[in-house]
């Protein structure tokens, strides 16, 4: 029983890491540009499929390195062509546009790579269990957790230690002032969008290795990411990270006792947070309503 619980907690942690990685990208874009990127799941799937296509030429590690970058590049183009015209308009429009884009991306993935799930091969060195007792501790799972941790650390390094990151944070607080100080806000938003999409692409490549690859892979991960952002507190990236891990672990534990409530438990948590602490766990009071 303990082992079962431990297994599901660990599993929940991994799933939560996906949620967090995806939610961090969503949060970045939402905080700076006020855009709810519904197509985030589509980009995630695309990142995974690009890696799948590259793998015969570049191997697992090359694909892991290159695919998220290509996805991010696509994100830069999409932001420039489709989303930029909508800044300053009612958020309704960017939401609808990315909603439509999500449909298109899923359909494109289906048209190119087929509706059926395809296996995503991972190196044998990562698939062997590390312990006979804790059978679930495969190298790949540990590797995923480590990589997500590294990605998150990298993100916070960029945000806190680089000029671009400082501008992103400043723009989140007061875009107008940042613009007046001579920062090109258009480029800033473009790069920020690309950064968010990079995280989605990375999450996609990692998720493919664990869940297999199908066109709807992004759709199943995007809703929990919204929940993660709300639970953690809108406007707070550490909150988003915490929210993602929390709901992942919570649904992992629920799987043991009441499997059919695996998803519902996240929404119960969200309801409780909104009731008891409406700004979210780490959200700041009154910054974003």
């Amino acid at each position: 029983m303990t082992q079962l619980i431990l297994f599901n907690v660990f599993n929940g942690l991994i799933v939560g890491a996906f949620y967090a990685l995806m939610a961090l990208g969503l949060s970045l874009i939402l905080n700076l540009s006020g855009v709810i990127n519904f197509a985030h799941g589509g980009f995630l799937a695309l990142g995974a499929y690009i890696a799948y296509t590259l793998m015969p030429y570049t191997g697992f590690w090359g694909a892991l390195l290159v695919a998220p970058v290509l996805t991010a590049a696509l994100g830069l183009v999409v932001e420039r062509l489709l989303i930029r015209p909508l800044y300053g308009r009612d958020p309704l429009y960017s939401l609808l546009l990315t909603f439509g884009l999500a449909y298109v991306l899923e359909d494109v993935a289906r048209a190119i790579w087929g509706a059926q799930s395809v296996p995503y091969p991972i190196p044998a060195s990562l698939t062997t269990p590390l312990s006979t007792e804790y059978f679930f501790l495969t190298g790949y799972r540990l590797f995923m957790v480590a990589l997500v941790a590294a990605a998150v650390a990298g993100l916070f390094f960029i945000l806190n230690r680089t000029r671009l990151g400082m501008r992103i944070r400043a723009g989140t607080l007061d875009l107008e002032t940042v613009s007046v100080l001579g920062v090109n806000v258009r480029i800033l938003r473009n790069l920020n969008f690309g950064l968010g999409i990079y995280l989605a692409g990375l999450a996609g490549v990692l998720a493919a290795g664990m869940l297999g690859l199908q066109p709807t892979i992004g759709t199943s991960l995007i809703m929990p990411s919204f929940v993660a952002i709300i639970v953690g507190g809108l406007g707070s990236l550490p909150g988003t990270l915490l929210g993602g891990l929390l709901i992942g672990v919570a649904s992992g534990i629920t799987t043991v006792f009441f499997p059919s409530a695996t998803e519902a438990v996240m929404y119960v948590m969200m309801g409780l947070v909104l009731l008891i602490r409406p700004r979210g766990l780490l959200g700041e009071e009154g910054r974003i309503q």
Binding site: I36, L96, V104, Y267
Partner: protein, 315 residues
Amino acid sequence: MTALRGRTSTIAVWIVLLSMPLWMGALGGYTELASRVVVLGLAAMALNFLLGFTGVLSFGHAAYFGLGAYGVGMTIKYLQPSTPLGILVGVVTGTLAAAVIGALIAKRRGVYFAMVTIAFGQVFYFIAFRWNSVTGGDDGLNNWRRQAIDFGIAKLDITNDVTFYYFALIVFALSAAAMGLLIKSPFGRTLIAIRENERRARFLGIPVEQHIWLSFVISCFFVSLAGTLFALLSNFTDPRALRWDQSGNFVIMAVLGGMRSFWGPLIGAAIFVVLQDYVSSHTENWMSFIGLFFMAVVLFFPRGILGIVKRRLAS
């Protein structure tokens, strides 16, 4: 002049709606398609009560639509084969859920409100999807049929497609009239004031949160009513009726037709339903079509059809 124009357009809408089953067939459609226009038109107008006339974006209305649908289906299947009772149960369920969730989120605004409604919308999807033994899970709730309505002195046999169309149209007419009266009432004017300038409304002493909550609940009441009709129409419902993409469809209908006008969402619904029917029977890649259609509406027709028409007439 504008009053006269308003009346003319209202009469035109009703002439079209009343005669739809007569010419739908000739244009390659069928009665069920006409019913779908009316039912989804009601849902889009109900959403627009909140979106267009209160200025609050909900992206989770499918949840209440679906609750209505499951309410009627489960009542007829498990409780009692009575259409009016089913509609009652569906509408009460949907409205109650909206009242509870609305109370949790009425203080949120803008993008945040949209996001919370999206997330909450999924709760009911997962319940319907997971609770196999009762809801039928992914396969949907089937093996039940809409029943003729017994008025004591007479029986209305809505199992007939054309009769059902006119039954749905009567419900639609009553709902539209109620929403129209609400919008014209002092309450509705207050909602519009909140939409135009929330801060000023607050300074005038208007309890903004209460108004938004009430508007949300009213909107969800009519959406769940539409949901009951939708399930009755196809004698079936499945989790897709309450999934997020359905919510998005309602919003695009409202925007496409023109969310600042009363009849806009109905026109948007008509176009959407006919287009979806046509595209999905002609290509496998209908998702791309619908997605590109969404993007085109946002980029090229953000005011919607009636918004453009109004502008033309004004200049």
